[in-house]
């Protein structure tokens, strides 16, 4: 793909007519994405330095500072010692709550059969697994995690 830099020619009548045929109903309300992004940027602006690799950003409590944990070869998040990201502060987390692992160049979130479930903002219901998008906000129990992937 090599987009041209030429200026946009005014469309001819037939082109406008063709566009009107494929025109989907206008969607005025993009609020969910906007709100998701507002939260994501608020997370990122609170960090002294933006993450440089795929990471989870979270706070251990309301007054705790945000932390950045690189996912590296994979990460299991939970309350118990057996989790690679152990968060004993998360009372509503299961011992092994969810994991994020690299999968064919993408990042796969998997709920590890947690009691309170794992949710991703904008996705209805609990998620069993999900290939994460840059800027996804993950809810596990009462804790929130922002997934960022600067390589994306």
């Amino acid at each position: 793909m090599n987009p041209s830099d030429t200026e946009f020619d005014p469309p001819c009548e037939s082109e406008v007519a063709a566009a009107s045929l494929t025109m989907a109903p206008a969607r005025q309300n993009f609020l969910p994405v906007r709100e998701r992004l507002a939260a994501a940027f608020a997370f990122l602006e609170s960090l002294p330095k933006p993450p440089t690799e795929a990471s989870l950003v979270f706070a251990r409590g309301r007054n705790a500072p945000f932390e950045v944990v690189p996912i590296g070869a994979g990460l299991a998040v939970g309350r118990g010692d057996e989790s690679s990201l152990c968060l004993p502060e998360g009372a509503s987390l299961s011992r092994r709550h969810f994991s994020v692992q690299p999968k064919s160049g993408m990042w796969l979130l998997e709920d590890l059969k947690s009691r309170n479930g794992t949710e991703v903002d904008g996705v209805p219901g609990r998620v069993g697994h999900r290939l994460l998008r840059d800027g996804d906000i993950i809810f596990a129990g009462e804790m929130m995690f922002l997934f960022v992937n600067p390589a994306a």
């Binding site: 793909m1 469309p11 406008v16 994405v33 997370f43 609170s46 904008g122 929130m144």
Partner: protein
């Protein structure tokens, strides 16, 4: 925001998040962003409709189109500080188009992978998982990205022309009949009880308005902050 949060069942969490972040943001230098980096919300407002329309034109559903929008804004805001205006270089729109097209392809690939992973999870059988066996087999992607983007721009401009509350509904109907549905001028004139010349005038006026909107969108999309076409930008390497 309220309706969305209630619907998705995250209301109390959102309240905590907003309260928490509001405190943090007031304590932190909220406007620390450099002036070269425009507010992400301004960028979002300017481009969201066209990006979503483009993504849907590429065959993505609403959720995937929203994901493309989310990821595009994340990438643009991350890379924008490295974006430098240099005359005679590729413009911001081209750079943005490259990002959006890439995100659309990625979204398609992700949907493909998602299906394979779901099938693996349902089958629960041993052996090589489907998502590893077929990960490289991506569905065909449309290559005519520039044309699809152009159509998205025309559509967005057309939405604005047809939705302009200052235009009389009858004028819009005349334009729709003669320019969009291709009805003969005489037939349209008879239907609306006006002269042929009035139909031509309405059509020309509306087409001129459409071109005006497209020109203004094109100008605004030449750079992240709406710089004119002669202020071109250099894509960060």
């Amino acid at each position: 925001m309220l309706a969305f949060a209630q619907l998705s069942g995250h209301y109390h969490r959102w309240c905590l998040l907003i309260m928490d972040l509001a405190t943090r943001l007031s304590l932190l230098e909220r406007l620390k962003r450099s002036s070269a980096n425009p507010d992400w919300q301004a960028f979002y407002d300017k481009y969201c409709a066209v990006i979503v329309s483009f993504a849907r034109k590429q065959g993505l559903d609403d959720h995937s189109a929203d994901d493309v929008l989310q990821e595009t804004v994340m990438v643009v805001m991350r890379k924008l500080p490295a974006f430098e205006y240099v005359p005679q270089q590729s413009c911001f729109r081209s750079w943005l188009l490259t990002i959006v097209a890439f995100k659309v392809r990625e979204s398609r690939r992700r949907s493909h992978m998602d299906r394979l992973i779901s099938m693996d999870a349902e089958s629960g059988e041993g052996g090589e998982p489907l998502h590893e066996r077929f990960a490289s087999e991506e569905p065909d992607a449309s290559e005519n990205v520039e044309q699809a983007w152009r159509t998205s721009l025309i559509e967005e401009a057309l939405q604005q022309v047809l939705g302009d509350p200052r235009t009389k509904p009858e004028t819009i109907e005349v334009f729709r009949a003669c320019a969009l549905e291709g009805r003969p001028v005489a037939e349209v004139a008879a239907r609306f009880g006006i002269k042929d010349n009035a139909v031509y005038q309405i059509k020309n006026r509306m087409m001129a308005r459409l071109n005006e909107i497209i020109a203004s969108m094109e100008k605004a999309q030449g750079s992240p902050d709406g710089a004119t076409n002669h202020e071109k930008a250099k894509v960060p390497s």
